[in-house]
Symmetry: C2
Subunit: 321 residues, 2 copies
DNA sequence: GTTAGTTATAGGTTATTATCTATGGGTTGA
DNA sequence: TCAACCCATAGATAATAACCTATAACTAAC
């Protein structure tokens, strides 16, 4: 039996012939002519090298080989129906995966969106990758993920970015620090103290340093630390001043004090970033649409900057091609 | 997803791509060129309307949709493999059915062949039809069965017949009949008595009557009976003389006596008959070959006339077209 | 930076498929 | 016997599939 040149259309026609028990009737149902169906069946029989139906006293009689082939076809089409269901879910964003890579700071706020989304779409896998800016950037270059979360989006040609949340920076000091109880502090006062900072590539540090440079200020003393947690703990134990995203600060007193700096309001934004030169997973589209619709609901409304509309619009355009 | 124009070849190529993880490698294995495979995959993706494999850092990566399609294909090919096994058995005569229609008298001897055959090929169905000559002839005309067993084969154009067993006729009389103990009896002596005969169409009766006509003899008195059993019983109870196939006579004394008629040796033959204008079931070929090889083994060698060779030879020729 | 290996694309040829219309031949039932 | 069905076959055509070669473009490794 040579399956090679047998198409599913052929099997469809054959099944109809078995079901209706008539070549003419099949032709009518499938909007074909009777000779077409006749010939199709003949071709199939040649491929199988065995008669599938025989005329017997003016009635079409299905042979054993034909019967068994019919059963085989039923099973086969069953599997393809299943596959179609799967595809439908996949395309509808109900199934599949959406790999997200994010910078460290974002790990505190993205779950607030991912949780509700995941509950709504339980069949969507959501693997998360967390790294510093350099690491996430490298992943972006290699196109390893579906969605990237940055502050300071990379300005590469085949990237599309959209802000979704303001990321205000806060200065924190130990509770026993000289500035801890001062009403208004200025940036120039602060730089005399020792600072605890993330690595040079980090968005937080870049933002802070560019502000210092703009103002012609220089830090007298700074220590580099590998994570936001490390900085928080170090500040609490009196090692110096920390500059941290508002979103990573726990609510309530935790051994440090947030300063009100009168002459500096530092803030960056988080962006959802996608590559436009790659196929975008349906689940990723689905998540971004969800985010656009529910940012205000699940994130603190004070900081939300919902600019996802344009991104989703351009994705919808792309979908057509 | 539009299956219509997807052939199994296409799925085969796709499966190989998934298995090898490479388009070039697949091309080499399937003796195609790389662009051919590339294009096939593209076509398949268009049919599914969803990427199945994507290039990621110089490596082919199978998408979710691709993976699921692969699994679907595995199942589908599994079913067709099963079907191929089924076909192989069918074509080898190991499976299927062989419908045999036979005249009444044959029912006593054919089972001696069918039994051993059935044991050898347990998956072959062997439905039997038994009727008088007219009935079997009608079935033959309509082509309802695969093999027919006649004495006096119908001489129709698209029929092929082969003798396999001699069918000698015997005259039986009640044990208390005047002729019962006579050494030699002649036909002309017999016709004075009452005869018990089958219906006019039956081969036995036709043979007997044509012999009478040839000799210019006329029966003085005859009674028609519907079955060989009825005749046997009637003879035993003294109703007259019977003419029966040797093969339907039980061995040993059963209330009647077999005469030795010196001037008449009546015998017909049983034939296997098939229609040559129809497809011959593999099981039927298989049975006829079996019969050719084992006639002498399972039937009384004295009567066997094995002329199946020619029949099977012409069947083998036909098989080619 | 050259080579070797990969995939993608363009352009072309040939074989096959998927259709059709027209027609012939056989059955059935009025 | 004739109309109304059925199926099979012939002959024709347009679309498409299935391939090819040549070539481009990219990446990894030497």
């Amino acid at each position: 039996m040579d399956l090679r040149h047998i198409s599913f259309r052929l099997l469809e026609v054959f099944m109809s012939v078995v079901k209706t028990g008539s070549i003419s009737e099949t032709a009518r149902r499938l909007h074909l002519t009777q000779p077409t169906v006749s010939l199709q069946i003949k071709r199939l029989q040649e491929a199988v090298d065995e008669p599938l139906v025989i005329m017997q006293q003016q009635k079409l009689h299905v042979t054993e080989a034909g019967h068994e082939l019919f059963r085989t076809c039923q099973r086969v089409f069953g599997h393809f129906d299943d596959y179609n269901d799967f595809l439908a879910e996949l395309k509808g964003g109900e199934r599949g995966r959406c790999k997200i890579a994010m910078v460290n700071t974002a790990q505190y706020i993205l779950p607030k969106l991912l949780g509700p989304y995941s509950n709504l779409h339980p069949h969507v896998e959501l693997p998360l990758e967390i790294g510093n800016r350099a690491e996430v950037l490298a992943r972006f270059e290699r196109g390893e993920d579906d969605i990237y979360v940055f502050s300071h989006p990379p300005s590469l040609e085949h990237a599309k970015a959209a802000r979704f949340l303001k990321n205000p920076l806060e200065f924190i000091v130990p509770t026993d620090h000289p500035l801890a109880n001062q009403q208004h502090v200025t940036l120039s006062e602060l730089v005399k103290y020792r600072f605890l900072l993330r690595e040079p590539g980090s968005a937080t540090r870049m933002l802070f340093e560019s502000e210092l440079q703009r103002r012609g200020l220089v830090l007298s003393n700074s220590v580099q630390m590998a994570s936001n947690e490390a900085i928080r703990v170090a500040v609490s134990s009196g090692m110096g001043i920390g500059v941290l995203s508002r979103h990573v600060l726990p609510i309530g007193d935790h051994g440090f004090k947030v300063l009100t700096v009168s002459d500096a309001s530092l803030a960056s934004h988080w962006y959802f970033v996608i590559r436009t030169d790659r196929h975008i997973a349906h689940a990723a589209r689905s998540f971004l649409t969800f985010a656009q619709d529910h940012l205000e609901q699940y994130l603190d409304g004070r900081w939300v900057r919902n600019e996802l509309h344009g991104l989703n619009l351009s994705l919808a355009d792309q979908q057509i091609c």
